[in-house]
Amino acid sequence: MKLAYWPGCVSRGFTPELHGSVAKVAPLLDLELVELDRANCCGAGVIAEHNQELADTLNARTFAMAQQVQGAAGMMNICSTCQGAQSECQERLDASANYRGEVNKHLEPEGLSYQTGGEWWNKNFLWILAEEIGFDALRERVQRPLTGLRIAPFYGCYIVRPSKRLGFDEFPQRDAYLDLLIEALGGEAVEYAGARKCCGFPVITMNRTTSLRQAGRHLADAIDAGADCLVTPCPLCHLNLDLQQPAAQKFVERDLGIPVLHLPQMVGLALGLEPEELGMGKHVVSTADVQRKVADLAAA
């Protein structure tokens, strides 16, 4: 399947292991990715907070570029926040022909235009796995089932709320895909309170206490539920849950130390890739325990 691919900013910035692991995993899933390397930041909700029309125009530019990719089934993103911010803009652009026309005027000089209707979509990698590839087909490709690995799913707000905007009418299981995926890859999905809660990242510069109490609490809940690691489709969640984890300990007054995987890293492990190919050494919280368990699986 050919896809226009929007990697987002953070996957090429502070979580390069995410961008790298997608590049390794995609060919194993027969995904041909055409990277939109001229597209701009989705605005992460901050640009919309500043100026809604600006956010809508910037994302219309990205959508228009994706629509120009010949033969692409749709657009793929690898970040819950991109998904949420872009879905929000798309909802407004699709709702009003007048408004869309006004926005498209700003794109005219480059011959770009966002066209609504038809089958065009923008889906997170998680949704691609569930809806375009399918868990059954995925199961057949598993080389190294993640048997015995207890994985706590962390969805990221923007991929599960608001459900009305995010296509839950058509795909009601979107808030369960991560759990279903873990099981499809042979792992055990851990149930804990924080799976669909907020990582706190959006207020890390504005209210550090609120932000890191949130991150710390979810990590602690996952540890108490017996998880070996977390997995998330959102690199911003990853920043608060992994990069900030040592700092978060202070705010929940206990030791943490649980690794957090990016979604494509987990998929890659199950498809037989090695941890170093997936950049698993580039985490703040060591993934050594997960790597050891995976190595034991291979030996068994």
Binding site: C9, V10, R12, G13, F14, T15, P16, D37, R38, N40, C41, G43, A44, G45, V46, I47, A48, E49, H50, N51, Q52, E53, L54, D56, T57, L58, R61, G84, E91, R92, A95, S96, A97, Y99, H106, L107, P109, C157, R161, P162, K197, C198, G200, F201, P202, V203, T205, M206, N207, T209, T210, Q214, L243, Q244, P246, A247, G281, K282, H283, V284
Partner: protein
């Protein structure tokens, strides 16, 4: 033969006993409400179950509870659908979150919700005296913008679901902040700037919202409290340029400036710029900024040590090949005199027709 099982969290503080869960059978068709189910149990099995309710039609906002963990009005939730979402078909019903429980499903709305609503000065402070012997009439279109905030029925369901309140009980919260926007967006009010300054400077005000959409998801009246909070931020920074001690202004300016300059996010500059009202220089020289940078230093070092971030990447960020396009879009959109906002709450149905 029971149609459904309700698992209700019972708690009577006067008994001295801890809270417990109790199962009750209900006979009802699937289209009836969870509230109907609770009332049937009260009627047939245990009259001592406490629940607050009145209209049964999502108007009075009395019967807020959590159903299978999700905050909602019991009268507005179909029992059949709740059962589909419940574990093994069992519907759990517990009191709303983020507030004290009075008894069973009744929470103390005064302790949290009403106290916070009063915090935002929930009345109009007129800008001027009405014309002699006349009412102060506002053009209808001037009020359109606040109709969404005015739809609030003060049920507290968003307060119950709020993920910031869960970790910071002092957060003013979604319902009260939506109420604040109702007056900030009202052209008759004369205290817009003072209201915004107050809510921006409060460490538990508009910049304590984590933008998680939990309130938007659960509101039975589509008030979308988080959207109203974002509007408060937009007005505070955009219209009044309020530079707050929480870096709310700085964060927005930093993010916007970085995008305008590079097209994608230059993360390494986001922190100092956020601490310096958007300016990189201020963010590295102002004492308050330096203090915050030092506080973030261990995290920065962790990032470098892990190999996620190289010093080069932290210093140099590539511009998009077509950055001129992004800059032109910024110039065009930001040079409008009037802010163009498309509110689907207001134009929703109209827009559908326009598309056909």
């Amino acid at each position: 033969m029971a149609d459904y099982t309700l698992k209700i969290r019972r708690f009577d503080p006067e008994s001295g006993e801890p809270a417990y869960w109790a199962d009750y059978d209900v006979e009802l068709p699937p289209e009836r409400s969870v509230l109907d189910g609770i009332l049937q149990v009260k009627d047939r099995e245990d009259a001592s179950i406490a629940i607050r309710c009145s209209c049964r039609a999502a108007i009075c906002g009395s019967c807020g509870v959590r159903i299978n963990g999700r905050s909602a009005l019991a009268c507005n939730t179909r029992i059949g659908e709740a059962s589909e979402r419940g574990r093994a078909g069992v519907i759990t019903v517990e009191p709303m979150g983020n507030m004290p429980v009075v008894k069973d499903l009744v929470t103390d709305m005064e302790a949290v919700h009403w106290r916070k609503v009063r915090r935002v000065v929930p009345w109009l402070v007129p800008a001027e005296e009405p014309p002699e012997g006349q009412e102060y009439i506002v053009p209808a279109e001037a009020m359109l913008d606040v109709t969404q905030a005015m739809a609030c029925i003060h049920c507290g369901v968003c307060v119950s679901a709020c993920l910031s309140l869960e970790v910071d009980p002092d957060f003013i919260g979604p319902a009260a902040l939506a109420k604040a926007y109702r007056f900030v967006g009202d052209p008759r009010d004369g205290e817009h700037e003072a209201r915004l300054k107050d809510l921006a400077e409060d460490p538990h005000g508009i910049y304590d919202c984590t933008h998680c959409f939990a309130c938007v998801e659960v509101c039975p009246k589509d008030v979308a409290p988080m959207n109203q909070i974002m509007r408060l931020r937009r007005r505070a920074t955009g219209d009044y340029g309020i530079k707050d001690q929480n870096n709310g202004y700085g964060h927005e300016k930093a993010f916007t400036n970085i995008l305008e300059r590079w097209g994608t996010l230059h993360e390494a500059q986001l922190l100092p710029r956020s601490f310096g009202d958007g300016s990189l220089v201020k963010g590295q020289t102002r004492p308050s900024a330096i203090r915050q940078l030092v506080e973030s230093l261990p995290t920065v070092i962790q990032g470098l040590k892990s190999g996620k971030v190289s010093p080069k990447k932290a210093l140099v960020h590539p511009k998009l090949p077509d950055q001129k396009q992004v800059r032109r879009i910024f110039d065009e959109v930001e040079s409008h005199d009037e802010r163009i906002e498309l509110n689907l709450y207001i134009i929703g149905e109209m827009a559908g027709e326009e598309n056909e």
